[in-house]
Symmetry: C2
């Protein structure tokens, strides 16, 4: 398997399959079919079989997929069979929501540090974390070997904080700031901007 | 222009172009080029010209795009030249962050109602809103003609709340609940799940 040969759009669907499979496992199911999984996630059965077969033969004609086995395989492929430490930069409303977010547990991530540059916030607690000064970001993140970060700073600060994160060795940034950021080719960025997502739907209304 | 003929992936990029153009306009710029815009958003100049030309001839060879004019056109195409009222269901941490979110202003949306089914929250304030009982969702949303909603409820509640939203006439749902929801063909759903977005990056690390 060569990561560069698998289209991004397929990689993009795997976490959705994994999430649905984990819910099936939680509800006690043992096996599933591409039809059943497809109905849950809104993808055709043929597409699911094609996507999953990129990585090996994980299902059997007639009996379908063993859920726990497929979960294990997908977690391996997506490298979330380990826990990634995540640095959170920006302790505003969205930062607070993410620091408290229960949806990282069992999905491969945990927030381990929270930063802000606002002197009135530094030293205060958000959930179990003490807010640290963004000025110390590189010296804190680099030795900890943290590779993933979430950015919930204002648009005007996003690029300079991203530059610091990259200097600190971060390779994956989930950017909540409403602005595109420039990163080297070996750094990945995903964007979450509710206005963008809403605008992608109003076109069709 | 037939909405069904424009690929979703192009529609998906337009809000990103619009956001970058609005930032350019805010900083006082009058004109831009596909090269300049492309560098800001991480898309090739050729792709930008191709995407925008799907909707008409908005730029001129040599002088590029008049920013305010292109903003006006893109806002019209995406139908955010009006303000969409948005219902927010789920007044947890994420719901609170979205109720306070400043990033909807000038981008076509405003939250107008907040619902929760937790008796201890109903009647309390979040920002300028009084939290209403989800039980009254249909009777409140339908007469108000609200077409867009954000769902920040637990996964277990997401489908039943989505069904109520659809019954109330909502046509576009931004789903923060970590589960896929089933909707009729005439209803659009976009998903925001930070774990999914993070997992789309760890594959490459």
């Amino acid at each position: 398997m060569n990561a560069n040969k698998i289209p991004d759009i397929i990689i993009g669907r795997l976490p959705v399959y994994l999430r649905a499979l984990q819910r099936m496992a939680d509800s006690g199911l043992k096996t599933t079919s591409s039809q059943e999984l497809g109905e849950l996630v809104g993808v055709s059965a043929a597409q699911i079989r094609k996507d999953i077969s990129q990585f090996g033969e994980f299902g059997k004609q007639g009996t379908g997929y063993a859920i726990v086995y497929l979960i294990e395989k997908l977690r391996g492929i997506l490298k979330v069979d380990k826990i990634w430490d995540v640095a959170l930069i920006g302790a505003g409303d969205m930062g607070h929501a993410l620091a408290h977010y229960q949806g990282f547990a069992n999905r491969g991530f945990r927030v381990v540090m929270v930063f802000d540059n606002d002197k009135s916030k530094i030293g205060k607690n958000v959930g179990e974390f003490t807010i640290e000064d963004t000025a110390h970001l590189v010296e804190r993140i680099k030795p900890a070997g943290i590779k993933t970060a979430m950015l919930t700073v204002p648009a005007t600060a996003a690029q300079s904080v991203a530059d610091q994160l990259i200097q600190a060795g971060v390779k994956a940034i989930l950017n909540y700031a409403p602005i595109s950021i420039n990163v080297p080719n070996n750094v990945k960025v995903q964007y979450i901007d509710p206005s963008i997502h809403l605008q992608r739907m109003t076109f069709y209304l």
